[in-house]
């Protein structure tokens, strides 16, 4: 039992991803929804690093690294958008941000 099957890691990644999707679908707070996206990204990163381990290559790490960098940039812009939305509408409920309708 000293070794962990690689499929466990991938299953964990899938579970975390599904939880992220669930958060995105069922939560109403924009910030929580945004955090769910980060959760999904993290889950994918775990997959990348697992693949990297399996293939004994560093490429997966690079992809995960880029995901992180992009996530950081995304967080900066996304939170700025959330601030602006809150300033203009004073709500964080995602269902009330629907001016695209009609």
């Amino acid at each position: 039992m000293a070794e962990v099957p690689i499929s466990w890691f991938l299953t964990l990644s899938a579970v975390l991803f599904a939880l992220g999707v669930a958060g995105f679908l069922f939560r109403r707070n924009i910030i929580t929804v945004f955090m769910s996206i980060e959760l999904m990204l993290n889950a994918v990163n775990l997959s990348f690093i697992t693949f990297s381990y399996q293939l004994k290559q560093v490429n997966g790490h690079l992809l995960a690294f880029f995901v992180m960098v992009v996530a950081a940039a995304e967080a900066a812009v996304g939170l700025a958008i959330i601030l602006t939305v809150f300033k203009n509408r004073s709500t964080l409920n995602i269902d009330e941000v629907d001016s695209m309708k009609n």
């Binding site: 679908l25 929804v33 995602i94 269902d95 309708k101």
Partner: protein, 612 residues
């Protein structure tokens, strides 16, 4: 050998003057413009000296320009003897005319713009000459057309100048259309546009194809070199500044058609029909333009028709298979016609813009340098024995005699007419009494200097540059044997023309007017340029404009094309208003759709992967 430097130097001059020239003092503009062209000339000399006797083509490949399927076009420059001749003419005369322009344009507005355009023209002309394939040649071809348009319309605040520019541009389009068709056809037949490849395969191609290509190329050449029926733009092009007329519309650009036909000689030698057509068009143009030139009163118009006529001679030379004679005449014509234009520019400059011969006269003593240099040029164009014009024209007429004797006789007649109208203009301007109101003054040294150089070249250039011998390694030797009788006949025609002009305008000045009165009908006919512009207007321009209004605009554009576009738009709106129902504006429902899509994708991947 860094051939690219030759065109790039003027381009650099164009960029510098075009971008920064507005803020430059004139001296700096002059330095940049003339310096770049002079450096280019120097580089041509260095290159040609470095290349030795040029028995073979020297090619430089820079980069692959277009790579698409079988089409592979490189940005290649090549130098052979023909190119060498053209390079020397273009950069040499270009430099002289740049120097001249410095004096001529000194008091004009848009000084930097003028030199920038002139440099740009040099760039495109050199690209045209150096190009190693038809497409690159076409680039230069179109570029010089553009510059010609810009420079004809240089005085864009004058309606006639912009109209003349438009006319030149539009008429040239017809020729360019033929040229582009020729390029397509060449590619279809030979699978390449490189001169080398095409000419190698030319002997094996069918005569019909070669004739078609030759005729299409000829259409292009007719447009650029102002031959019947597309010559009408050139006389109007005199609306531009005189140095432009000298450089572009006498010495270099208009000869591009001749150059191109000569360059394509391997095609033409296997397409005698096309050659014959070229010769016929050439002699007809020569004769017709000369006849119109007989009665024009605007000094630049006279030389413009003279240019058309001389270009006709070159076409005759090419059409008779005497390519080197055509190029020979091209070179000498560049000397004396540039000189004639520059001289007339000097006259106009002296008279502060007066162009009408009837308001000149007796200028011989007032502007002697201009007078005597122009006399040299007039002798040359009249074919006075042993001038450069005599040599080249004689070579063409000899070839014409070998091709078809009637062409020789018509050519000789034209030569006589040429001598007459040139000397008519010369005598009217410089002899007799001054009939104007200005105070003529001699031009500055920057203008007379180039005149003197060109005068020497007009007289002796034919000996200094033995073009036929130099080009004999390129072109097939189809020169007719020397025939003393024909030479005497041809040159005596010129002498007779000079004599008549002297009698009519110097010895007995009354004869001209009474003759015009006696031959009222032909005179009016010729004076109005055979009504060609009016005929074109009635038969081509008006129907085209009318047809465009009704058929193309009202029916095609507004009815069909707009209808299709609007219909697509309204259908899309209808569809959109249905699809809109999906767009609830709710982010979470969008997310649900995304999830739905990704599940579908995963399932599809599973199926595609064979559900391992």
């Amino acid at each position: 050998m860094q051939l690219w430097l030759i065109p790039l130097l003027p381009l650099a001059g164009f960029v510098i003057n075009g971008v920064l020239g507005r803020r430059f003092p004139k001296a700096l503009i002059n330095t940049v413009a003339i310096g770049s062209v002079a450096l280019s000339f120097a580089w041509v000399l260095k290159t040609l000296l470095g290349l030795g006797d040029l028995q073979n083509v020297y090619t430089e490949h820079y980069f692959t320009w277009i790579q698409s399927g079988a089409l592979n076009i490189g940005c290649d420059f090549a130098v052979d003897r023909l190119t060498a001749v053209m390079l020397l003419v273009v950069t040499g005369i270009g430099s002289l005319i740049h120097v001249y322009s410095m004096g001529y344009m000194a008091h004009e507005g848009g000084y930097y713009r003028f030199f920038a355009y002139l440099n740009l023209f040099m760039f495109f002309m050199l690209v045209l000459v150096l190009a190693a394939n038809y497409l690159l040649l076409f680039v230069g071809w179109e570029g010089v057309g553009l510059c010609s348009y810009l420079l004809i319309g240089f005085y864009f605040d004058k309606q006639f100048a912009t109209n003349a520019g438009n006319k030149a541009f539009i008429v040239n389009r017809i020729g360019d259309f033929g040229f582009s068709l020729a390029v397509f056809y060449i590619f279809k037949n030979f699978g390449s546009l490189d001169f080398h490849t095409v000419f190698q395969q030319a002997p094996g191609a069918s005569e019909a194809a070669l004739t078609t290509i030759g005729l299409l190329l000829m259409v292009g050449a007719c447009g650029k070199s102002a031959q019947i029926p597309l010559y009408v733009w050139l006389p109007d092009a005199m609306a531009g500044p005189t140095p432009v007329s000298a450089l572009i519309h006498a010495a270099t650009m208009v000869t591009a058609g001749v150059y191109m036909c000569a360059r394509s000689w391997p095609i033409y030698t296997h397409a005698p029909e096309a050659l014959n057509v070229i010769a016929v068009i050439g002699i007809a143009t020569a004769f017709m333009a000369a006849s119109i030139g007989l009665v024009q009163n605007d000094i630049k118009k006279v030389f413009a028709y003279s240019t058309v006529s001389q270009l006709g001679y070159m076409f005759v030379g090419v059409g008779c298979g005497a390519f080197s004679a055509g190029i020979y005449h091209l070179v000498t014509h560049a000397f004396f016609k540039a000189l004639l234009f520059l001289g007339s520019g000097s006259v106009i400059h002296a008279l502060s813009g007066e162009q009408d011969l009837r308001h000149m006269g007796g200028l011989r003593g007032k502007i002697p340098w201009t007078c005597w240099t122009m006399f040299c040029a007039s002798l040359a164009i009249a074919g006075f024995p042993f001038t450069s014009g005599f040599l080249s024209k004689d070579a063409i007429l000899l070839a014409a005699h070998g091709h078809a004797p009637w062409m020789f006789w018509l050519g000789t007649l034209t030569a006589g007419m040429t001598a007459f109208y040139v000397f008519r203009a010369f005598f009217m301007a410089f002899f007799g009494q001054y009939r104007g109101h200005e105070h003529p003054h001699e031009s500055p040294a920057t203008m007379t200097g180039p005149l003197v150089v060109l005068a020497i070249l007009s007289l002796a250039g034919g000996y200094l540059f033995r073009v036929p011998e130099f080009l004999s390694t390129i072109f097939p030797a189809s020169e007719a044997p020397e025939d003393l009788t024909l030479m005497v006949i041809a040159s005596s025609a010129g002498l007779v023309g000079i004599l008549i002009a002297w009698v009519m305008y110097v010895a007995k000045p009354g004869i001209a007017d009474s003759l015009a009165a006696a031959l009222k009908l032909p005179y009016t006919f010729l004076y109005n340029k055979l009504y060609v512009d009016e005929i074109y207007d009635a038969t081509v321009v008006k129907p085209l404009v009318g047809g465009s209004r009704v058929l193309l605009w009202k029916v095609m554009d507004a009815g069909i094309i707009d209808g299709m576009v609007n219909g697509v738009g309204s259908r899309a709106r209808n569809l959109g208003s249905v699809l809109r129902l999906l767009q609830s504006g709710n982010i979470r429902s969008y997310a649900t759709w995304v999830l739905f899509g990704s599940v579908l994708v995963i399932v599809a991947l599973g199926i595609a992967g064979g559900l391992r």
